[in-house]
């Protein structure tokens, strides 16, 4: 459980690093192209965002606010706080990520199982092909290509925006296929490994049906490597969602995050970095807990 205690420390490191990287260096969002009309306005703006205080006070204030869950005002969307914007965009991104994860698991695990059970069969070839696609066709290539083929040439699905289920098909596929490929590969390798082990032989020897052997004695064990990879996979899922939201113009967190880089919206950037770090920690923790539950040997 040292992992749980480590999360606040990590977040503190992230908050400190991003604060000093972005804020400490001279030159701020009010300096150049966005110079306010007059000195008074500038002073008022700076006072409003507490930019006139010494740096260590600003840092203390920021940390204090973050600890209360307040990420501060957005510098670009003047009437919104970062919390507001996160509140609006996170559900969209989570829905997208969740569906893509569903595709990855729902397609990857059965495919990996079938591929391992009949090596050289159609499922094995399908899994190998999917893996090849997953390795060689990154999300930012697959997305536009799916738009071109399924959206524009065949006109099966709408190519942008967010709302009805038809809108979700292409983004979910784009994000999900890549991970389905990786899940299928791990599942296949895990299954092949487990099928060779002696407890499977015992299970067969005592006369269990093949289905029972596979479902009760092989699949649960083969799931272990898949689960231990879900942590890193979820991190990649986050990065992938930046691209997917960009390609399909989905109003999710990733799109706002990328925009905050172009508009130099520092508080937004810091808030997003913190949010992503926290999300990553929590997801990693979940995958660890799940791993322990499936495989009690881990961590004992």
């Amino acid at each position: 459980m040292a992992r749980v205690a480590l999360i606040p420390v990590l977040l503190w490191v992230v908050a400190t690093l991003s604060f000093f990287l972005l804020r400490a260096v001279p030159g701020g969002p009010f300096d150049r192209e966005r110079a306010p009309a007059s000195r008074e306005v500038e002073a008022a703006l700076k006072a409003r965002y507490h930019w006139d205080e010494p740096l260590w006070r600003q840092y203390g204030r920021y940390l204090g606010n973050v600890m209360h869950g307040d990420l501060g005002p957005s510098l670009k969307y003047r009437n919104h706080s970062v919390n507001d914007l996160l509140g609006q965009t996170v559900p969209v991104s989570l829905a997208l990520g969740g569906m893509a994860f569903g595709v990855a698991i729902g397609l990857g695990i059965p495919l990996g199982v079938l591929a391992a059970l009949k090596r050289g069969g159609w499922a094995d070839y399908a899994a190998a092909g999917l893996t090849l696609v997953g390795v060689c066709v990154p999300v930012f290539v697959l997305g536009p290509l799916l738009v071109l083929v399924l959206g524009l040439w065949l006109e099966w699905f709408p190519v942008a925006l967010w709302g009805s289920w038809q809108n979700a098909v292409l983004p979910t596929l784009t994000l999900g296929l890549y991970f389905a490929a990786r899940v299928a590969r791990w599942m296949r390798e895990g299954m092949i490994e487990v099928l060779r082990s002696s407890h499977v032989q015992t299970a067969r020897a005592k006369g269990l049906s093949e289905t029972a052997v596979i479902l009760r004695h092989v699949v649960p064990v083969a799931l272990v490597p898949v689960i231990s990879y879900t942590g890193p996979m979820l991190a990649d899922l986050l990065t992938g969602s930046f691209v997917v939201e960009n390609v399909f113009q989905i109003p999710g967190t990733g799109a706002f995050f990328i925009n905050s880089f172009f508009s130099r919206d520092y508080t937004m950037m810091m808030g997003m970095v913190l949010f992503y770090s926290l999300l990553l920690q929590v997801l990693n923790l979940f995958s660890d807990l799940l791993l322990r539950w499936v495989d009690p040997r881990v961590g004992s």
Binding site: L10, L22, F140, P144, W153, V243, R264, S277
Partner: protein
């Protein structure tokens, strides 16, 4: 069997040359490198030179058609490939430099140093790396580019590229450090190292002469797997507009340009299909080489038994 000339390296090379996928990947990559380095120079077409004929479909004059500014897509794809390969190679080089040094020192010093250095790697693993790359690039963009544009504006693209290579390299070394450390830990107890130590070989010489040659295998294998990862990162950033900036081109910006021309009125497929296809082929070849090297150096993994 001729066991006399069968050093581990030579055996690995022989296994590698027998791997058809790996060899054709190498051939493809060499070809892509040569064509992308010398092609624009031979063709004598300026990839940034606009013309009066935008959106020409692929044909005899423009092999891959032209883009929105009437620029020849083929020459732009060549230049973009060159930049992507360059960033991949240098970025992976930076990551090897950091990773090998870190792993060597950590594994060699052992004890508390090792514990702290590896704890540091664990912490970095837990952070969203791409986000950090974006942060450092923005920092470079806001601080250094303004400073440079007053003094030496012509150098901005080169510095921007360098910043990207360094920042990508500086987040990709973690796994390398772990692998090298594990290898060093196992080497440290081997008789030849103990023997070298006992006759008083100084530490630096010990590292260079006795450790590094024995690390070469794992380092080469992992290096070749890092190159496609860095190429991918670079294109990802450029696709989002955070990496290579116009008028310079990388495969990422070309794919982004192609994607932005997708609309239901007129489909200009060539703008997307050519750069995307090349990206796919390159990633396939880079991974093919990496996997080939891995199964050549670690035959257990390669043949399944």
């Amino acid at each position: 069997m001729n066991t006399l000339s069968s050093s581990p390296g030579r055996l690995a090379l022989r296994r590698f040359l027998r791997n058809r996928t790996a060899v054709s990947s190498v051939v493809f990559l060499l070809l892509a490198t040569v064509v992308s380095v010398f092609g624009p120079w031979v063709m004598a077409i300026d990839p940034n030179q606009g013309s009066e004929s935008p959106f020409v479909s692929p044909g005899a004059l423009h092999w891959m058609g032209t883009d929105i500014h009437g620029r020849d897509l083929f020459s732009r794809v060549l230049v973009g490939t060159r930049i992507s390969l360059l960033v991949g190679a240098v970025g992976a080089g930076v990551s090897v430099l950091i990773g090998v040094t870190w792993g060597l020192v950590s594994g060699w010093r052992g004890g508390r140093t090792d514990a702290w250095m590896m704890r540091f790697v664990d912490v970095l693993y837990a952070l969203p790396t791409v986000v950090w790359v974006m942060l450092t690039l923005t920092l470079f963009e806001t601080r250094c580019v303004g400073w440079l544009s007053e003094r030496w504006p012509a150098s901005i693209p080169a510095f921007r590229l360098a910043a990207m290579m360094v920042s990508l390299g500086s987040v990709s070394w973690l796994t390398m450090a772990r692998i090298v450390r594990a290898q060093v830990l196992s080497l440290r107890e081997r008789p030849f190292i103990l023997a070298a130590q006992s006759i008083g070989v100084p530490p630096v010489r010990l590292m260079l002469r006795h450790f590094l040659p024995n690390l070469a295998g794992v380092v080469i294998v992992y290096l070749t797997l890092t190159v496609p990862a860095v190429v991918l990162y670079e294109s990802f950033l450029s696709f989002l507009g955070l990496g290579v900036r116009p008028p310079q081109a990388s495969l990422g910006t070309l794919i982004a340009d192609g994607a932005s021309q997708l609309n239901s009125v007129r489909v200009r497929w060539w703008l997307l299909v050519f750069p995307a296809g090349l990206m796919t082929l390159m990633l396939a070849a880079l991974n093919g080489v990496g996997e080939g090297l891995r199964s050549a150096f670690e035959p257990r993994d390669g043949n399944g038994d």
